[in-house]
Symmetry: D2
Subunit: 221 residues, 4 copies
């Protein structure tokens, strides 16, 4: 009898489902599209399954087109805190830079940092693990001649330093994209290698983002 | 004995101080300067004393230079909700328009409205009475030829319509400034009548703002 | 014999064709489109024929999309002086204002005036009669709330004052458009009354421009 | 007698002064300041004297603050063609890029190229030797994180390619500045190494420009 009970207990433990970690991808139109069938979020999910970790993670996209860091803050309570995630991958900054020139409605770095810092602190207080990403590209030319290269580098540098100083996992998308484009853009095109339109990701772009993000998420299982 | 008690009770009520209503002025550099010795906030206080209502109101400035509507939202919890005010006079919008051209970091109207609306709703939920102001001026020329006149009119119109629709007291500073400048700017100067630098208020500007705001605050005693 | 010669001389004079005055319309995309079948230039021609003055004028369009005042100066020798016109109607300024916000490549008023003045002087030296036009609209809202209204008014004011001071015929398109929109835009739409897209002219817009221009050209017969 | 005459003739030829080549430096505020006592033009002159070539060249500054390529074209007849120079060093492009963000009045590359090309062709027709310079810097950070680095690189690339294709001597100031800053800006400051304010040259900057320009001018003696 005792033996049977022990067996049952073992069985119970063995089959008890692991509580999946909820991962929110929090960002702009790239993340909004990233939740679509060919987007980076399903690709992260595939990489996860390939690694036999499907029971460990669930992935949720919370991207809205045109968002800048303060638009994330606007919906931070509802789309992050109220969702009770374990991990939040923040992929923001492109519109903060881009909209300066398209519509005069970007975000200066000091405010970019202030809003970002406030969200990171609120996540930490809520026991949520943040992951930070550097902004990828606005234009794919690989000779530092895209209009916003200087500003993107400036914001990316801030993110890298903030993440290092605060021990936050970093997905250095800008670095990954630059390396990829150095090798794979011999004609120095401004789009068509990782993006469809200089900013939004094509299949190769979504795959690269998924691979880089999965490297950062996987160890947190 | 009963008589004495009654007398005591009457005395108690008579001398019990009225609880002052706390009025927060929530805004940008104009409000930050408005809290200074020659600013509009001490002038509102003077108008209040003139009307023998010093016991009814206390006035607190919460203005920070460069603020746009989303910068107000950034510090809304700490500077408004946590302060437990009765009334909040929101005077914002100039930088949302102005920074579009100076640094590419203004706010488009749709987002301006979304952030404003969210704060108004949170105030109402907290039992706080909001008062809305239209943005005054960027340039004092009175023939509709200041660079941002069109955009300021566009944002002012939204504020007027929102206030009307939601039964929120309105201080139409833009209208007041325009009327004043029609009469008092015969040389069509771009500064020096109500502002020192096209935007920030001189003594006359602070007085005009104080008078208009006091008209809206006084009935809420 | 003498009588016959006299008759012949009279006949010669009577049938000698009047030398047509060559009128160049010099401008941006509005003028480029204005040379098309439904554009304002054929409509000026129709008004001219209606007034039985077809033998007095010929009309030539020299408009190129995106042109600012300095783009006119770039091709001034080839497209104006070398064409030996009698009259040049200059219709420029919208892109000088508009491109400030769309691509950061507009023209400040001081330089706008300098280039304009240089071309006017060169025309006068060459015996060419200039006609100046104020810029029409960027947005058709009639309550001074179009983004660039302030700046357009500022440039229009300069053109009016320059024309008055230098005795140059003026076609005040901005004034004509404003008057028309006050009466004919009750829903305060931003396009569709005189323009297709806030800037470029529909049929009604082309007709209004043609009528106003013809009023200025006709007396120069 | 014949002998004496021959001697006299020889003496005449020997002492006849070489006609100095007139070199115009044509540019913006950097060139305007470059004509001042500590500017790059007197420094070019000093380098010229050091090389015992004082009799071969004379140097004239034609720089005006705020100039973009089309402002050069505006005064091209008066300040270049009418001056009958032998050599013109064109140093332009910073404001074409910079003013996009400061005042919305920069120049897009296609027009930058069109105006530049027109002036080069007119110089060639007039027998004037042009020398082209790439724009130096807007910000001295050496990690590609200055706001306009991408755009400056884009314009510099166009100038390099145009000069190569048309066999025009090139002074690659941007390259020289970048190399210098890689070695001499260890703290990654945004000003103070070659500029006083991110753009305008200090003593070291003026010397570097003078050295690079002299290398291009000297062989044309």
């Amino acid at each position: 009898m005792k033996y049977l009970l022990t067996l049952a207990a073992i069985a119970l433990i063995a089959f008890q489902p692991v509580k999946k970690k909820k991962v929110i991808f929090f960002g702009d139109s790239i993340t909004q599209q990233g939740a679509g069938p060919n987007g980076y979020i399903p690709k992260v999910d595939s990489l996860c399954r390939q690694d036999k970790l499907a029971e460990n993670f669930e992935f949720v996209g919370k991207g809205i087109g045109g968002n800048r860091v303060y638009d994330l803050f606007y919906r931070f309570q509802e789309d992050v805190l109220d969702q009770k995630p374990d991990i939040v991958v923040v992929y923001i900054g492109i519109n903060d830079v881009w909209h300066k020139t398209t519509s005069g409605t970007g975000t200066e770095l000091s405010k970019f940092g202030a809003f970002y810092d406030k969200m990171i602190n609120k996540m930490k207080q809520a026991g949520i693990q943040p992951i930070m990403c550097t902004p990828s590209v606005i234009g794919e030319r690989n000779d530092d001649s895209n209009l916003q290269d200087g500003d993107l580098n400036f914001y990316a540098k801030w993110i890298r330093e903030y993440a290092a100083k605060n021990n936050i996992p970093l997905v250095d998308l800008r670095q990954s994209f630059m390396s990829y484009l150095d090798k794979n853009n011999p004609a120095n095109e401004e789009k068509g290698i990782l993006t469809t339109d200089r900013v939004h990701l094509n299949g190769a772009g979504n795959l690269l983002v998924a691979q880089e993000m999965w490297k950062a998420v996987k160890p947190l299982k």
